[in-house]
């Protein structure tokens, strides 16, 4: 059950990462409470993969603090036993079977639930004795997820795991993921461009743009804090004074404002509407890019 008092599995404060002259991540403050499925969203190059690498200990920060599962991320057995990481390139051996991978996992991990992998593959009609190279993309992704879950991680980090899958395979993959979270004790961070999928499966959001965190929190709370105001083209100074303006689209006749509100909106000239996740995300990305949201619809597509 979700509560604001859930302990933080991930806690960063002003976390930064520079590579020579390039700032990949700048002063990122992020909290992910236990049991969340967090959507890591942002344009390509926004710092998503950098953040995931810092969380796994594959990269070291150049500034700020980071605590994951109560400790500092390091590539050592003690830390990694609690963390599962599935990179964009699914790490499977093409000439080996699922059964071979289950055997390897049993050797490499102190805690290992090979039975759960076999049960999952059976329920999906994925043959355990076939070479992985002869499985479909969706079947390989499911196998990789089942293998990652077999070591019973408390935190699972996924870097665009569903981008290459067809809609049915994506749905099955996300259902598998959500089931694992329903069993308890697991927190997930999932990077993806596919907002519709994320809206269904995620309850927490980290929005990155231009190497900075634009939004971080429970999606329900973030949506409730934001509203869209549609009204005539008129002076909006009062609204901008009382609330935080995220984005304004102004034409000769009409003004559309996305605001983070600091209380009720009481200007009767404006129609007040709730925002959806897509509108919220595009609004913040548009603010950073200094462009109208219509020009940013390409984030729904894959690179």
């Amino acid at each position: 059950m979700m509560a604001s008092s859930d302990p933080a599995v991930i806690q960063t404060r002003r976390l930064s990462k520079r590579y020579r002259r390039v700032t990949a991540l700048s002063e990122a403050t992020v909290t992910v409470p236990e049991g969340r499925i967090s959507a890591l969203i942002g344009p390509n190059g926004a710092g998503k993969t950098t953040l995931l690498r810092l969380l796994t200990g594959l990269a070291r920060p150049t500034g700020g603090d980071i605590t994951v599962l109560g400790g500092t991320p390091r590539q050592n057995a003690a830390f990694l036993s609690g963390v599962g990481f599935l990179a964009q390139e699914i790490p499977l051996y093409r000439h080996l079977s699922a059964e071979d991978h289950i055997g390897i996992g049993a050797h490499l991990n102190a805690r290992w639930d090979g039975t759960s992998v076999r049960r999952r593959l059976e329920s999906l009609d994925i043959p355990v004795d076939r070479q992985v190279g002869r499985l479909s993309g969706g079947q390989r992704a499911q196998l990789a997820l089942a293998l990652t879950l077999a070591k019973r991680p408390r935190l699972l980090l996924l870097d665009e795991p569903v981008a290459a899958l067809d809609p049915l395979a994506r749905r099955q993959f996300l259902a598998h993921l959500a089931e694992a979270v329903a069993d308890g004790g697991l927190t997930v961070v999932l990077s993806s461009h596919l907002l519709a999928d994320l809206e269904r499966t995620c309850d927490h959001l980290i929005l990155l743009a231009k190497s900075r965190v634009q939004l971080c929190g429970d999606i329900d709370t973030l949506l409730a804090e934001h509203q869209v105001l549609v009204g005539p083209a008129k002076d909006t100074t009062a609204i901008e004074r009382d609330h935080t303006l995220v984005q304004a689209v102004r034409t000769a006749r009409q003004t559309t404002l996305l605001i983070r509100r600091s209380g009720p909106v009481i200007d009767p000239a404006f129609e007040v509407a709730d925002v959806g996740l897509e509108e919220l995300v595009l609004g913040y990305m548009g603010q950073v890019a200094g462009a109208a949201p219509a020009q940013l619809t390409s984030i729904g597509e894959d690179q």
């Binding site: 979700m2 259902a175 959500a178 329903a182 069993d183 269904r200 499966t201």
Partner: protein
Amino acid sequence: MISFRVDGRSVVPPYLQIVQQVRQALRMGVLDVGDKLPTVREVVAATAVNPNTVLKAYRDLERDGLVEPRAGHGTFVVGRPAGPPPGTHSRLARSLAHWVRGAREAGLDDESIESLLRITLRAAADEETA
């Protein structure tokens, strides 16, 4: 047992879709007192929605006195939604159909009718809270 459909394109948030489908099933008699709702895990496996979404829906239904969790057994229906008996629905549906025919004859298309209905509902809600 019923199964839920969660439409990602709907303006109704997923948790509310689940709440509405339970209420609808109770009104239609598809679900009755004593029946068990699917477990969170079952809903999640079928729909890929977030487990917290299902919990939130079930808590909403519990708060309204419609369902009750029983530790280790699942969530069970314990009440029916308040409201008029089914006959009332069909009677109102007939008069609404009559009104819609009138609106069409007056030249309103579906979009105008929906917009008019939304505005009227909102005005009525404002009146109630005023």
